[in-house]
């Protein structure tokens, strides 16, 4: 242990008592953090990376227990009493969380919440704390801090709330800042701003940062040291350069390879046009009533798209840009104005009138956990559409089709008698894809189908989608904020902002030579994270 090591974790184990017996989430982790450096703990969900830091902050759930040793400046902090621990956490070691929307108390003004660490650690009064809070808000780039100090959290955006959390973390000049996936819940451009802010603050204030993430791009850009965790163990650690250029452990290599690669060729020039939207408008009423004037939100403002057979149109943009709404309007799942034509004839509006078209126009949702009914077997879920579109089909025939569809998406046919909760996120998304594939569609709207999945699983889903497309000449309308996935899957890109197309063109052109400033910002935010390339 060298002199400037400020945090040293030895043989840390975290065990949770559950109804199925004890579960060991962290299995003997060793980590060292030197002052002023950035350590990234990388791993997929369930790898124990968050629980490692929760244990040292004394924040484990009630059924969790930590053993081993965590030394902060040669002082044991693991399993300290709350009172003793409270002298360190929030003062010398601080933390920001994955959920900026809910990490602040919704019932108090942010000024009051920022004052608390100052009052209880630095002994300031509310009044003494105020100038310091204003200074902190300015430091983290909150505009107009004199006004914002009296705002409630719900009056701020996710990015601003995360800035407030960072301000809270910095309040008492900490030695260590633990950032637990601080940008996962934010839009890409906001992500980049928050990361830049953290890097900049580290440079100016000199604290050490423990960065917990599943996003290797971030690690590559910021970390000095990297620890790769898998199933509660550190499988590889070293300097960022070493880990990225010469990964030793196969799991690390797998993670590095997991970033989707390859690109899609455009469809043949004579590929028939399947789905065409002309000047599609979608407007949502935002209330109003008997006495109030009604107000409207224009979610999609006159967008025209043309999807050809075998084509994948990638739609990118920040949340609220209208990309999902556009996808739904093209499937007539939401009321819209303008023309939507299928094979040259206009699609009808009513639910009943649309039914004959539905099996050719399918949709896969983002959330593989919420979109499968928990009370139906997988077989029932994927054959449900057949009951409507091919009512004459016999039960045995449906059963065979279910087996085929599952095998098509890389699952075992025998899984059709099991329930969704028995499957992982990636498997569930395969089930959702099987549910659409069984109807033999020609167009599928994919609404962020990989966003809720780990990188390595994402890659498998991307491969699956690609194979299905080649085999069945499918056309995809692929909605995502994840540019690396879009780049791998789409041959044509639409960039949306506030309901309008700001730029569109062939994938290569949009990625390599973006014309619009907004596109460039989006690209930079998502893709400029390449500091070390792996030696291949």
């Amino acid at each position: 242990m060298s002199d400037n090591t400020i945090l040293s974790v030895r043989d840390l184990r975290v065990t949770f008592q559950t109804n199925d017996g004890p579960v060991e989430a962290v299995k003997g982790v060793n980590l060292d953090l030197k002052s002023g450096e950035t350590l990234a703990i990388v791993g997929e969900s369930g790898s124990g990376k968050s629980q490692t830091t929760m244990a040292l902050m004394g924040l484990l759930a009630a059924n969790g227990k930590a053993t081993g040793s965590v030394k902060y400046r040669d002082r044991e902090v693991l399993n300290l009493s709350e009172r003793e621990l409270n002298k360190i956490r929030g003062k010398k070691i601080t933390m920001i969380f994955q959920e900026p929307m809910t990490s602040l108390d919704p019932l108090y003004r942010i000024g009051d919440q920022l004052a608390e660490p100052l009052r209880y650690h630095a002994g300031m009064s509310r009044r003494q704390a105020r100038p310091r809070i204003l200074e902190l808000l300015r430091l983290v780039g909150i505009p107009d801090p004199e006004r914002r100090i009296d705002s409630y959290p719900h009056e701020m955006s996710g990015g601003q709330r995360q800035r407030v959390m960072i301000a809270m973390a910095l309040a008492n000049d900490p030695d260590i800042l633990i950032a637990d996936e601080p940008t996962t819940a934010l839009d890409v451009t906001i992500q980049a701003q928050i990361l830049e802010l953290l890097a900049d603050l580290q440079k100016r204030l000199g604290m050490a940062i423990v960065f917990i993430t599943h996003d290797l791009g971030i690690v590559r850009r910021f970390a000095d040291h990297v620890a790769v965790m898998r199933r509660g163990e550190v499988v590889e650690d070293g300097t960022a350069e070493a880990v990225f250029t010469a990964p030793k452990h196969p799991y690390t290599r797998m993670l590095l390879d997991a970033e989707p690669e390859g690109q899609k060729l455009p469809p043949a020039p004579d590929a028939p046009e399947l789905l065409r939207g002309d000047k599609v408008h979608v407007t949502f009423p935002l209330g109003g009533g008997f006495l109030k004037k009604p107000t409207y939100l224009q979610a999609v403002k006159g967008i025209s798209v043309n999807l050809r057979e075998g084509q994948t149109i990638g739609v990118v943009g920040e949340s609220g840009s209208g990309k999902s709404t556009l996808g739904r309007a093209l499937l007539r799942l939401t009321e819209s104005e303008g023309r939507v034509a299928w094979l040259g004839t206009e699609l009808p509006h009513g639910i009943d009138e649309m039914r004959p078209f539905r099996h050719q126009l399918q949709l896969v949702f983002q959330d593989p956990f919420g979109s499968l009914s928990p009370r139906m077997t997988v077989g029932q879920i994927i054959t449900e559409g057949l009951l409507i579109h091919e009512p004459s089909m016999s039960r045995a025939e449906r059963n065979t089709r279910a087996g085929e569809a599952l095998e098509e998406v890389g699952l075992d046919a025998s899984m059709r008698n099991r329930y969704p909760h028995e499957f992982s996120g990636g498997q569930r998304q395969r089930i959702a894809i099987a549910r659409t594939m069984i109807l033999r569609p020609r167009v599928i709207v994919l609404d962020e189908p990989t966003s809720a999945l780990d990188r390595s699983v994402q890659k498998q889903i991307v491969t699956l989608l690609r194979d299905l497309q080649l085999k069945y000449k499918l056309s995809y309308f692929f909605i995502s904020h994840d540019l690396s996935v879009v780049r791998a899957l789409a041959d044509h890109i639409i960039v949306m902002k506030s309901g309008e197309i700001v730029e569109e063109g062939p994938t290569e052109q949009v990625f390599d030579a973006p014309r619009e400033d907004y596109t460039r910002r989006l690209m930079e935010a998502a893709l400029s994270t390449e500091r070390f390339r792996p030696a291949s």
Binding site: A62, R89, T102, D105, P117
Partner: protein
């Protein structure tokens, strides 16, 4: 906020109008009338009585007449207590009911919150289990069991408190009725607060407070309990209206001059005006307390804004 309050008050008028209308015709549909005694009255006397109370007029005329009087604040004469108007009956009884109900509400809120918070903080300990068990008992035991038991034990066996009766001046007479009224509410509120606090303690912002080393009293008292109050406040609105308008069981067991019994007595005796009066009073209380709840909610939770 003032505009919102006034609008809410104004919107209560049609609500009460509908309640009054429905009740007026519903009770007239019920067979029998206020002067149907076991031994029928002389037809001539009956006719005279009915003329005196305008019961011989067509129903719609009676209805309009009632509405006209109601707008002037006159609830009419009681049919069964012939020396009193309904206004006089409420003027005597309502203060008693409000006093007892108010004290019970206060006690229930204080003890319910304390017990619920303790149970939540010591979740799954023996203390938590005990509080939950007692709360369940409190919810499931009807007040017509609790009231006589209390009266028997403290009034008769121990003889420390009056077993029944009423005195405006001597609080000893108030204690047992207040306990009877409060106990089930303590139980309900304790369970509500326990559940809400358990949930609030798991909230991300409470984790933040703990991560920043704030003392336990701040984590719990400032960040968890305020959020936990919200469901309790919602519950208190209708509960307050119910408690303050009296309880027929408690008034009967302890022999109290409250207004709770009027509803039952009025309905059984076909005392049309008394029933109507009770309905109007309860409706007004419900409207007022629901409004107070909404205002309190907005005060507790800045995300709720009325304008």
């Amino acid at each position: 906020m003032l505009g919102y309050t006034l609008r809410r008050m104004a919107s209560a008028v049609p609500t009460i109008f509908i309640i009054v209308t429905l009740t007026f015709f519903a009770i007239r549909i019920a067979p029998g009338g206020p002067f149907d005694l076991e031994r029928p009255l002389d037809p001539l006397i009956l006719a005279n009585l009915q003329r005196a109370y305008n019961l011989d007029a067509p129903l719609w005329q009676q209805y309009l007449m009632y509405l006209g009087n109601l707008i002037q604040g006159d609830l009419g004469p009681s049919f069964t207590r012939r020396d009193f108007s309904v206004n006089e009956l409420f003027a005597q009884g309502l203060p008693v009911s409000i006093l007892l109900g108010g004290l019970a509400l206060l006690a229930a809120t204080i003890f319910g919150i304390i017990l619920g918070a303790i149970a939540a903080l010591k979740q799954n300990s023996w203390l938590d289990n005990l509080i939950v068990a007692i709360a369940t008992l409190g919810i499931t035991t009807p007040n017509f069991v609790i009231a006589p038991l209390l009266s028997l034990f403290f009034g008769v066996i121990l003889g420390v408190l009056p077993a029944g009766g009423w005195s405006n001046a001597n609080p000893a007479y108030w204690i047992l009725p207040v306990i009877t009224l409060a106990l089930p509410q303590v139980a309900v509120i304790a369970r509500l607060v326990r559940g809400a606090t358990v949930e609030a303690l798991r909230a991300n912002h409470v984790r933040t407070a703990r991560a920043y080393g704030l003392p336990a009293r701040v984590v719990v008292g400032v960040h968890a309990l305020r959020a936990a109050m919200l469901p309790t406040v919602s519950y208190l609105g209708p509960t307050a209206a119910a408690l303050l308008t009296g309880s027929v069981v408690v008034e009967t067991v302890f022999g109290l001059p409250g207004v709770g019994r009027y509803f039952v007595q009025g309905a059984l005796g076909r005392d049309y005006t008394l029933v109507m009066g009770t309905v109007v009073v309860i409706a007004v209380f419900v409207v007022i307390f629901n409004l107070l709840v909404d205002l309190a909610y907005a005060w507790l939770d800045p995300r709720v804004r009325y304008d």
